[in-house]
């Protein structure tokens, strides 16, 4: 085994071009487990810790760019304006795991239980990939995540980061698990309201082969908010019946399986509960005076 330690993005991309078999290593919180247990014996590893270009995030022209090497701890500390992302980041593992784990690694692993992924899906984020031979390309999250632990990345590419249009409106991420820390989600949900486009985006984690969007639920609740006049007057209440219908449609969008962490029925029920809470939180957050 060979370990390569590039000091810049150019150097890292050159390594990937010459050694496409080299596995990228970021925080190591997924990859090192595989290595320690002998489940992976890559011919080469390319460590991205020293590639400064990947560890920054920025806002530009109404868009946000999040580098693949930004840790959950940095997100919690620096990105308060992106509440659902902060909530998801805070729920990852433990302080030690959050200090090292990155969103790039979450994307690279592409587990259906990756907690950052429903947030990126609800933001309609794109994943930015780069290779020395073909330069940069951008894929919508749903074309990047092709299945459980499968992505559309080419062997000579690196994940540079993700980018999304900055949304105005409330939102949240929440997950169900057996305790409040160190827990793989049994179900996870991110809901964001996009005031500008008058849309409600809902993404589900841990309840299907990959991250799912509850499209039908999104459309029905956006229409209901039009009927109730809430888009124009935030104090106009949404009929509770619509809240229940929304939660039911979200539950129907799940494609859960039975496994050691929970039954399919429990996961579906979890989605219903998370959906109801998330829409209620968003609407009450919306009703708060803006000066709060």
């Amino acid at each position: 085994m060979q370990v390569l330690l590039p000091h810049s993005l150019d150097e890292a991309l050159a390594i990937k071009a010459d050694h496409p078999e080299a596995l990228p290593l970021n925080g190591g919180t997924d990859l090192m487990v595989e290595l320690n247990f002998g489940r992976l014996r890559p011919a080469a590893i390319v460590d991205l810790n020293r590639v400064a270009e990947l560890t920054a995030w920025r806002e530009q022209d109404g868009h946000v760019f999040l580098g693949s090497g930004v840790t959950y701890t940095s997100i919690v500390r620096e990105m308060q304006a992106y509440k659902p992302l902060v909530q998801a980041s805070r729920s990852v593992g433990s302080p030690q795991i959050r200090n090292r784990g990155t969103v790039g690694g979450n994307l690279g692993t592409a587990s259906p239980a990756g907690d950052a992924l429903p947030v990126l899906a609800a933001y309609d984020a794109e994943v930015i990939l780069q290779s020395r031979a073909r330069g940069e390309r951008s894929l919508p999250w749903n074309l990047f995540l092709t299945g459980p632990k499968k992505t559309a990345i080419a062997p000579d590419e690196l994940i540079i980061g993700t980018s999304w249009r900055r949304l105005r409106g409330p939102g949240s991420f929440s997950k169900i698990g057996t305790r409040n820390a160190m827990v793989i989600a049994v179900a996870g949900l991110c809901l964001v309201i996009d005031e500008e486009r008058r849309r409600v985006n809902v993404a589900l984690g841990s309840v299907g082969p990959t991250i799912l969007r509850a499209t039908q639920a999104e459309e029905r609740v956006a229409a209901a908010l039009t009927t109730s006049g809430t888009w124009d007057d935030r104090s106009a209440p949404l009929n509770p019946q619509w809240v229940d219908e929304f939660a039911e449609l979200v539950a129907q969008a799940a494609q859960p399986l039975d496994d050691v962490r929970g039954t399919a029925a429990y996961r579906r029920h979890g989605c219903r509960v998370l959906a109801k809470r998330a829409i209620s939180w968003a609407l009450s957050e919306w009703r708060l005076p803006t000066w709060l």
């Binding site: 085994m1 060979q2 370990v3 330690l5 290593l25 925080g27 190591g28 919180t29 090192m32 487990v33 290595l35 320690n36 247990f37 014996r41 590893i45 460590d47 810790n49 701890t73 593992g93 433990s94 302080p95 030690q96 795991i97 200090n99 090292r100 409040n180 820390a181 160190m182």
Partner: protein
């Protein structure tokens, strides 16, 4: 490959298999047995160290990632035979039974108290959520943290 790391203020190097974790590097190559090897999957925190000042599970760091970087281990806390006040507090509060988890907890507590001199009970529990103890039931560990914090604030 030769890994060269500044460990507890001193440059150390060793020739190791490139897939070696920082934990195994510290224990097997450098003979620093304070960091414990229990799960090798980030779950228990008994291998906690600081990498460039950041609290980390050393089992999840490739030794090569620490090349030319700074590592601090639990051994850095004692001065000769003199225990660190956090270690004293663990002893007094009865927070040590088999002791296997203790070094990891002590490092995590030291990290917490460097950032927050007066942590709330909830903050303490959250800060220690990455460390497992199979013996104490945690309450005495939490008591030890508050004792150590109070003494630190009193300048003892």
């Amino acid at each position: 490959m030769v890994v060269r790391t500044r460990v507890n203020g001193e440059w150390r190097e060793a020739d190791v298999w490139p897939g070696t974790s920082l934990l195994v590097f510290l224990r097997e190559a450098l003979g620093l047995y304070g960091s414990k090897n229990a799960c090798e999957q980030g779950e228990c925190g008994s291998c906690s160290v600081w990498l460039d000042g950041t609290l980390t599970c050393s089992c999840l760091v490739l030794a090569a990632q620490a090349h030319e970087r700074e590592v601090r281990t639990v051994e850095s806390l004692t001065r000769g035979d003199q225990l660190h006040p956090i270690q004293e507090a663990f002893l007094e509060a009865g927070a040590v039974q088999c002791g296997f988890c203790t070094p990891g907890f002590v490092v995590a507590v030291a990290d917490l108290l460097e950032k927050d001199a007066n942590p709330s009970p909830a903050t303490v529990r959250e800060a220690l959520s990455g460390n497992l103890c199979r013996c104490t039931g945690y309450q005495k560990i939490v008591d030890a943290v508050h004792l150590a914090a109070a003494r630190q604030r009193a300048g003892a």
